[in-house]
Amino acid sequence: MANKKFSSRLIVGTGKYKSMNECAKAIKLSGADIVTVAVRRVNISDKNKPLLMDYIDPKKITYLPNTAGCFTSEDALRTLRLAREIGGWKLVKLEVLGDKKNLFPDMIETLKSTEVLSKEGFKVMVYCNDDPLMAKRLENSGASAIMPLAAPIGSGLGILNKTNIMIIRNQTKLPLIIDAGLGQASDATIAMELGCDGVLVNTAIAKAKKPFEMAQAFKNAVIAGRQSYLSGRIDKMLMGSPSSPSKGII
């Protein structure tokens, strides 16, 4: 992706954990080598607050700055330009939200931002609706990866529209990564079996009763789903087909 090779198809978020230690351990167990991070104000009154970079080494794990919380193109551009200044990263995740309750992306603002960021040399991974037409327009605007939602962010509903994801898969050679809405490890397997190149998970791991175990479950689920996809599944049939030979029955 963006001319760089990564070893894991699982990208994990670093939000919503109980502590930095828990977050760092879950990431390690997930095997992810890309993590999403947010850009926020430094707390100038409490300098002893732990820093993410002290727990997750950006030299070992690729930080993917995200514009989470931005509702306009202007805010998203400002955030990512600042992110580039912190670490010199060009690989970023664009997310422009349109509604505070359902957190669906505002695709008009997202499209505008993708065009500007691509021209500025960013490698933009774009959070978007599961709309094949909009995915195509993002691709034509220079997106580096298409990241359709499975369901609303943090909802845990799993992939709601498999057909749309399959259509997007068939029309693009860009990395296709399911972002948002997964609830359990099997959701990640389904995403991979649909032919997606990866999944991004945050809440489903961070808010699981046992985040460390869930991180491992997602790791395995992504590997299993990818293997299953590459193995070529059997055709679906209405009637049964016996597994044992009918010849030689006593």
Binding site: G15, V42, A68
Partner: protein, 72 residues
């Protein structure tokens, strides 16, 4: 001794009184902020961190200092 002139700036949304002619570098150092791990905006313009020793702060300057935190 001549009394130092003071100015008011806004940093990360909070008003702060500082001495006049303080550089951005001195302010960030005083606040013990690790420069390598942050990005700085002065009056909505992103600042090249190599330039901060040359930038003298003025009255009503608005500064934003951001870093990476956990997020989805």
């Amino acid at each position: 001794m001549k009394k130092l002139k003071k100015i008011k700036i806004k940093i990360n949304g909070k008003i702060k009184t500082i001495i006049d002619k303080l550089t951005l570098y001195e302010l960030i150092n005083d606040l013990k902020i690790p420069i390598r791990k942050v990005a700085i905006e002065l009056n909505k313009e992103i600042i090249n961190k190599k330039e901060i020793k040359k930038i003298k702060l003025e009255n009503n300057d608005v500064i934003e200092i951001v870093h990476f935190i956990g997020g989805g």
